[in-house]
């Protein structure tokens, strides 16, 4: 910070007369900026013989660097310094910086950047497929040798991604149920077809909203946690340590998480279906005056068990997408803390993208086989 006071003290810091250049006052990082300005205003009338620095009160290495610049600007002049400052000046002079140009970010043309993106996309896909291959390898191994199964990791995942998420998943699905019933109820009421709210809600919640909303919540909540924890383990060299112990990080860290999530996501979706329908029930009573008993009766009569199964059947796929992408991106962390953040973000974005893609695919297949 250059205050008014320091600016004033700087005015006389660099003075030119017939004997030479006189330096005085504070020559430190704080005054360097002002000194540089003064140096630029120096008007030379003739050659100078001495640079007198004996009146400098305070000198640090930045000041010494500037003095060194002055001696290079006036190579024929001799520099006089006090003993204490001379040592510092010598140190700085000895380490006179070697100019290395700052690396400027290379600006590639548009086509090259596009090509790079495409290349990155395919190489990442290639790596992901290889990762799935490894998962298959260990799945077969676990089936053949069940004693290898890491039950502890699986149950820990069930606890953390399932039980601990009950509150948030339940609350959000309940609210979704309320919102859906409110929006659709208004429309149905104008046709006098209020009771069909149950049919609409039942199909949309059981087949689409329940699995989709739950999967997206879990992707944000647990998929990101997988990526961040594996990434941090890489930064701490824990992954390397596992590898040197002859343990595959994929088996030790990823398999249990993926299996655990495949177990727990269908259960979470069942819970989400229940709370969403409960939200709908409350809204139907408040807005459409449908009694809960009527609501349940209608639900029982019009919604077949098939809708429920068709919703649930998608969830293991969603669980696999979330957990495998989370772990995959965690393993792709390179370098430090910055990379952990990048890969965690990627894991969530890709997981949600793939969930929606998979959901669309399920819809197409199901309509093709007429279920």
């Amino acid at each position: 910070m250059v205050t008014q006071a320091t600016t004033n003290s700087v005015v006389n810091a660099l003075r030119l007369d017939t004997q030479g250049l006189h330096c005085r006052g504070e020559w430190t990082v704080n005054t360097l900026n002002a000194m540089q300005r003064l140096r630029k205003t120096l008007v030379l009338s003739g050659p100078i013989n001495t640079i007198d620095g004996t009146e400098i009160s305070q000198l640090d290495s930045a000041g010494a660097w500037l003095l060194n610049q002055l001696t290079q600007q006036f190579p024929q002049a001799t520099l006089i310094l006090s003993l204490q400052h001379q040592a510092l000046f010598d140190l700085v002079k000895r380490h006179q910086e070697v100019k290395v140009p700052l690396k400027k970010p290379v600006k590639w043309p548009l086509l090259a950047r596009f090509g790079l993106k495409v290349w990155q996309f395919f190489s990442e896909m290639h790596a992901y497929i290889a990762f799935i291959g490894e998962l298959c390898h260990f799945s077969v191994l676990w089936i053949l040798k069940p004693q290898r199964i890491l039950w502890q990791v699986i149950w820990q995942t069930v606890q953390r991604t399932g039980f601990d998420a009950l509150m948030i998943v339940g609350l959000l699905s309940f609210l979704i149920g309320i919102v859906l019933a409110y929006q659709m109820g208004g429309q149905l009421q104008s046709y006098g077809a209020s009771i069909y709210i149950v049919n609409l809600l039942g199909v949309s919640v059981l087949r689409e909203f329940g699995p989709l909303i739950t999967a997206i919540i879990v992707a944000g909540r647990s998929g990101s946690a997988f990526a961040a924890s594996l990434g941090t383990m890489h930064v701490n060299q824990e992954i390397d340590a596992l590898q040197t112990l002859g343990v595959s990080p994929i088996e030790r860290l990823a398999m249990g998480k993926i299996l655990g999530l495949i177990i727990v996501l269908p259960l979470l979706v069942m819970w989400a279906d229940c709370t969403a329908m409960l939200g709908g029930l409350i809204m139907a009573k408040c807005q459409l005056q449908i009694n809960p008993s009527v609501y349940i009766q209608q639900f029982h009569a019009s919604i077949g068990l098939k809708q429920y199964y068709l919703g649930l059947i998608k969830t293991p796929t969603f669980a696999f997408i979330i957990a495998s992408i989370g772990c995959f991106q965690g393993f792709r962390v390179k370098g430090g803390a910055d990379s952990v953040g990048t890969q965690t973000t990627r894991s969530v974005v890709q997981a949600i993208f793939l969930i929606i893609m998979a959901d669309a695919l399920f819809s197409i297949v199901m309509s093709a086989i007429h279920v």
């Binding site: 910070m1 250059v2 430190t28 990082v29 704080n30 360097l32 900026n33 540089q36 640090d60 290495s61 930045a62 660097w65 204490q84 040592a87 510092l88 010598d90 140190l91 700085v92 380490h95 006179q96 910086e97 070697v98 100019k99 290395v100 700052l102 690396k103 390179k334 370098g335 430090g336 803390a337 910055d338 990379s339």
Partner: protein, 256 residues
């Protein structure tokens, strides 16, 4: 000893976490231009003491004066002004991983001064050279550096602003003997030319032999003894005798 020459004055310091006391009635004074080493067995609270000085943890009781100002009860403004007067070398470097070595070194300069970018770059490159790094390391990211180079880059950042006080946490740990002794020489040279006060937390016996003026031995939750290396080697406190009387220490200190 006049008051202005006391850089650090710790009085009756108590620290602890979760009910366990780490320091009890610890006293330590460091004067200007001095190099003080802090040694002690594992778990004797060396790093906690350092963190306390750095205002990263709050002491339970006691008083720490730095540059003649009480930092345990000081205002936020005072604490901020103290933070601009020291340089710290963390044990694992603590370089910012998204910045190059040059950008890491420039960061304190850009935060604290209004120098132009070119001047900042020049000063930072000078500091990198002073820390003993080749100029080509300036454009590298911390992940691309070896352990010794990370230490040197962290030292370059620590001395970027020519601080009056330098705190070094295990500067030579994990370095090869040549780099370690070069670093020791560098520390001595910096002290001489820049009139630095330096606190070193170290386990390195060779560093203890060459660098510090005084050594503070931590044990039993306090400073057991403070003095020159010779005084400590000939100490009659059992814990200090154990530390300096083993095969390794005897080889290093056989002339003393």
């Amino acid at each position: 000893m006049s008051n202005t020459d006391t850089i650090i004055d710790i009085k009756h310091l108590h620290t602890g976490f979760d009910g366990t006391l780490i320091h009890q009635d610890l006293n330590l004074t460091v004067t200007r231009g001095e190099i003080v080493a802090i040694v002690g067995g594992s778990g004797s609270g060396k790093t906690t003491l350092l963190n306390c000085l750095l205002m990263l943890i709050e002491p339970l009781k006691g008083k720490i004066d730095m540059f003649g100002k009480n930092i345990t009860q000081g205002s936020a403004q005072l604490r901020q002004s103290i933070r601009k007067r020291w340089g710290i070398l963390f044990q694992s470097g603590a370089l910012f991983s998204e910045l190059t070595v040059l950008q890491n070194t420039m960061l304190p300069l850009q935060l604290e001064t209004r120098m132009s970018l070119t001047d900042c770059t020049h000063i930072a490159q000078l500091k990198i050279a002073m820390a003993g790094l080749p100029a080509s390391a300036a454009n590298k990211y911390p992940a691309e550096l070896s352990g010794g180079m990370i230490k040197r880059a962290a030292l370059a950042r620590a001395i970027a602003l020519d601080p009056q006080l330098l705190l070094l946490d295990e500067p030579s740990a994990g370095l090869d003997p040549i780099s370690a002794s070069a670093l020791d020489q560098l520390i001595l040279e910096l002290r001489q030319t820049m009139n630095l006060t330096i606190i070193i937390v170290t386990h390195d016996l060779d560093t203890l032999l060459t660098v510090p003026d005084r050594i503070a031995f931590l044990g039993d939750k306090r400073v057991l003894q403070i003095g020159t290396l010779k005084e400590l080697i000939h100490s009659d406190i059992p814990m200090i005798q154990d530390y300096f009387n083993n095969a390794r220490a005897n080889r290093t200190f056989k002339d003393m």
